[in-house]
Symmetry: D2
Subunit: 138 residues, 4 copies
């Protein structure tokens, strides 16, 4: 971790009060931490906009495991990209439905393509790619 700086920010008293109320509601006990989180959120968004960036993301899939050959298909697709899938977690939501989370790492464009293909698979009811960070760039 780099050196800690202390910078000054000019802000209207009214605006500051409203911000403090909002971050208190969200559970922050430290205003600097809230500022840093706003910054990191912007940086993560920005990183993902560049297709060549190295990114980390998670893909959440909900599917019906009774759909014929779906589990095999999803497994096959994942193995084709096994170097980009760090790990997966599986939860049996009910008699029919599974939730699977994949932790993905690679170039933004490749991760997006892999996520699109898994979400598009018949039997996958809902899928969403969540952009996050490798930690070191923020």
């Amino acid at each position: 971790m780099s050196q800690l700086c202390r910078i000054g920010v000019a802000i209207d008293e009214d605006l500051l009060k409203k911000f403090d109320a909002l971050i208190h509601k969200r559970g922050y006990t430290n205003r600097s931490e809230a500022f840093r989180d706003l910054i990191r959120e912007e940086l993560v968004e920005n990183t993902w906009k560049t297709p060549e960036s190295q990114v980390v993301g998670t893909l959440t899939l909900v599917y019906n495991h009774h759909v014929r050959q779906l589990t095999d298909k999803l497994t096959d697709m994942q193995h084709d990209f096994h170097t980009h899938i760090l790990s997966t977690l599986h939860v049996h939501l009910d008699h029919d439905h599974c939730l699977e989370v994949l932790v993905l790492r690679g170039k933004a464009a490749v991760i997006q393509k892999l996520a699109d293909a898994l979400i598009a698979t018949k039997g996958v009811k809902h899928g969403r790619l969540t952009m996050t960070t490798s930690g070191s760039e923020v």
Copy 2:
């Protein structure tokens, strides 16, 4: 406008450098202004989450004016909510298409309902409600 405060924010040197690079790219010449914009964005989002909040928004519609009776219909619907529509702007995009922007003010839930109804009208090709602020709350 209320009194101007100057607060201190603790932040890693690396993170600060990345933030400065990002806001420079976006055209900011003043770091405090970038911080205030991040805060105001959060406050606007939060205000719109409460259906009873007084809000200001703009609705952008693109439609084909050749669709039978569409212009009359949109005009009628707008007059039913005339107290919520501050003003409108109309642009002739090409031979067929119009773009209309409505500036809306009222309770968040009412503005959302009005926007939904206009967007759902047959012949309206694309519509999007943009949440903004009355100015005084941020």
Copy 3:
């Protein structure tokens, strides 16, 4: 407008009922129109992802006109991009605040850059770029 097709879509009865309830709530009287709107929304999102695409958008700005030289500055910046600004609408929100909507047309990357610069200007309290369509591509 091109020829109208009628395609078949296979869908579970339960899912269809829920969709019908949702679009009824949003004011649709016609299910095909709701489907077309979902499609057009995806196409607009996709177009804006390509920096070279020709796009149409609206920029909503709320600012305090008492900030010294702000009005002049915003006017100057707009004139530098006058070929990209089709029209603007101005509303006096209260004693201090103005809302301005700009209708923009050009390459996605240029429109984004212009919007970023206007939003970053000191005194602009809130700004948001709304992506829409020229009409002909959807």
Copy 4:
């Protein structure tokens, strides 16, 4: 699963061609599946807007495990909500950084509050709540 219906959707030939091109790019081999995914996405969004709805979501956190007592703190907070956390997955991203994904189930408002509190914790560099479905409602 309920009975399968086959409904007709009226759509311009041009718009259909563009939609087919887009879903092909995303990996769909079946147009009905693409339509169903659009519908389900809308339903999931809508469910999460009601604070009392029963929902399923995933929370992705990236944090620096060297921050003093952070791991203990996150563990304690999770145990306070253990009935809402179905499972978690942990990945060691590098020497300093951990990624943790939590699968959450409960009322939308409670899940949001739990996610806010974990994201706000000092040392958590990035956090994002992903809304998904229990499967049965879509």
